[in-house]
């Protein structure tokens, strides 16, 4: 087997896997490296074929093509209206440019941010540990509404600068491995939504969850993102983010469990963290 045919075989293997189940970062990087050499394969070719196969199976499925629920159809029409209203104000070229610009910026700052994140989190822990002795309980709890609909979240995702960061259990806390969901955030709108499944219900009179936003460009300490509750028996909650300060280019989001009403400085531990990918 020649080097070239070996490379092509490996590339086909990776592209097929990408089209079937998706790939992690190391494999994606490997594809990019292999694509940089001479090859007749196009990056999207297998994905397109896999998509057509998926449609082929749907057409032949005896259960047939299903009618979309009417309420979802209505939501999509409203979201589209909102999206294109925004697009008319800022023409399509501007939106594409914004997307590319946001991607470039994130890529350029990814390395420095991840370095900051590690250092920043350590700094936060230290600051929090020192502050443990004098917790300041904030007045006027503002619980996020667990009934917040998915619709405004999806609309926010239409923002050109919207980022989506999936939650992952923190190594510092046990029992939160099953938490899933994500954070959607837009710097431009200064708005965001958390979506959470598997986070254990809290008793609001005893403790409330609190969101923290790590914004290295603003402050070493994370920004308070608001307190919220998870009612018992809830499968998934969508919570609007209530940032107390302007946030630009967040590096991560984290959740702690605090006294009712939340705290100004947290002693942690972080329960779940959503690092923003570069």
């Amino acid at each position: 087997m020649t080097d070239a045919s070996g490379r092509n075989e490996r590339l086909a293997e990776l592209l097929a896997e990408e089209a079937a189940t998706g790939l992690g970062r190391p494999e994606s990087s490997e594809i990019e490296e292999l694509m940089s050499t001479d090859t007749e394969m196009a990056r999207d070719e297998f994905m397109r074929v896999a998509s057509l196969v998926q449609v082929g199976f749907l057409v032949d499925d005896e259960r047939g093509v299903e009618r979309m629920p009417d309420d979802l159809r209505a939501k999509l029409e409203r979201q589209a209206q909102s999206y294109f209203a925004q697009g008319r104000a800022r023409n399509d070229a501007g939106i594409v440019s914004d997307i590319q610009s946001a991607r470039r910026t994130r890529a350029e700052t990814a390395t420095s941010k991840s370095r900051w994140l590690n250092a920043g989190m350590t700094g936060w822990y230290l600051a929090a540990a020192l502050a443990l002795a004098f917790f300041v309980v904030r007045g006027g709890p503002e619980p996020g509404s667990p009934a917040a609909p998915a619709e405004p979240r999806a609309t926010l995702m239409a923002q050109a600068d919207a980022i989506v960061a999936p939650w992952a259990a923190s190594a510092a806390a046990e029992g939160y491995e099953g938490v899933t969901g994500d954070v959607v955030w837009s710097d431009e709108r200064q708005a965001g939504y958390m979506r959470l499944s598997g986070l254990v219900a809290n008793e609001p009179a005893t403790a409330q969850y609190q969101l923290w936003i790590v914004d290295p460009d603003r402050d070493e300490r994370p920004v308070d993102g608001g307190v919220f509750d998870v009612p018992a028996g809830t499968r998934e909650v969508i919570i609007p983010i209530d940032s107390k300060l302007a946030v630009n280019g967040p590096a991560a989001f984290a959740i702690t469990l605090e006294k009712p009403g939340g705290v100004v400085v947290s002693g942690g531990p972080l329960l779940v963290v959503a690092p923003v990918a570069g």
Partner: protein, 218 residues
Amino acid sequence: MIERLQLTSEATQATRLRRVARASCEPEVSDEKPILERVAEGDQTAVADFISRYGDLVWSLARRYLGNHMEAEDAVQEIFIEIWKNAGRYDRNVASEVAFISTITRRRLIDRLRQFNRRPGMESIDDQIGASQPAVATTLNDDAEVAQVERVLSDMDPTHRQILAMSLYEGYSHSEISEALDMPLGTVKTRVRRGLMHVREQLKLVEELDNPAEGSAG
């Protein structure tokens, strides 16, 4: 998972029995402007037309891949936003609208399963009760590439076809398929890869027959 596997197997059997070979996969020639182009141009009526024509397709793909009504609802909203964002990139000379839309859909569905590290969910009884509403309209039967893919799949070995269906249509990971079919993981991966390569080659062959000059030019 067993119930879903049985569904796949039964659907495969039924499909094989009732499949009717298509007489032709010649693409339909139409002067009608693709809806995506109208969407990209800001045509207000195009969005509703688009959702009417392709909403059921995206919905059905999401339902089958994620296996859960709520997950599918969220995914479909994300997918449509992605479609609106990319409508301006659609080129009718490169792909059909079905191929363009289903590729965006597939990418999002894969991302979603990976992001939440979930296997496809079991449908609840309520989900199943509400599942069988007939689609109002579908343009799938008019898509030449889909027709060609159906033909290739129908000629495929049943086990191979089942592996592809579980992986590409129902969203199972290679490990889950390996476990469910009691088949080595490497064999599952190889069969998915070879299946995709086979379909790809067949589509290329048809493309070359349709456009001999382009085909011979490579």
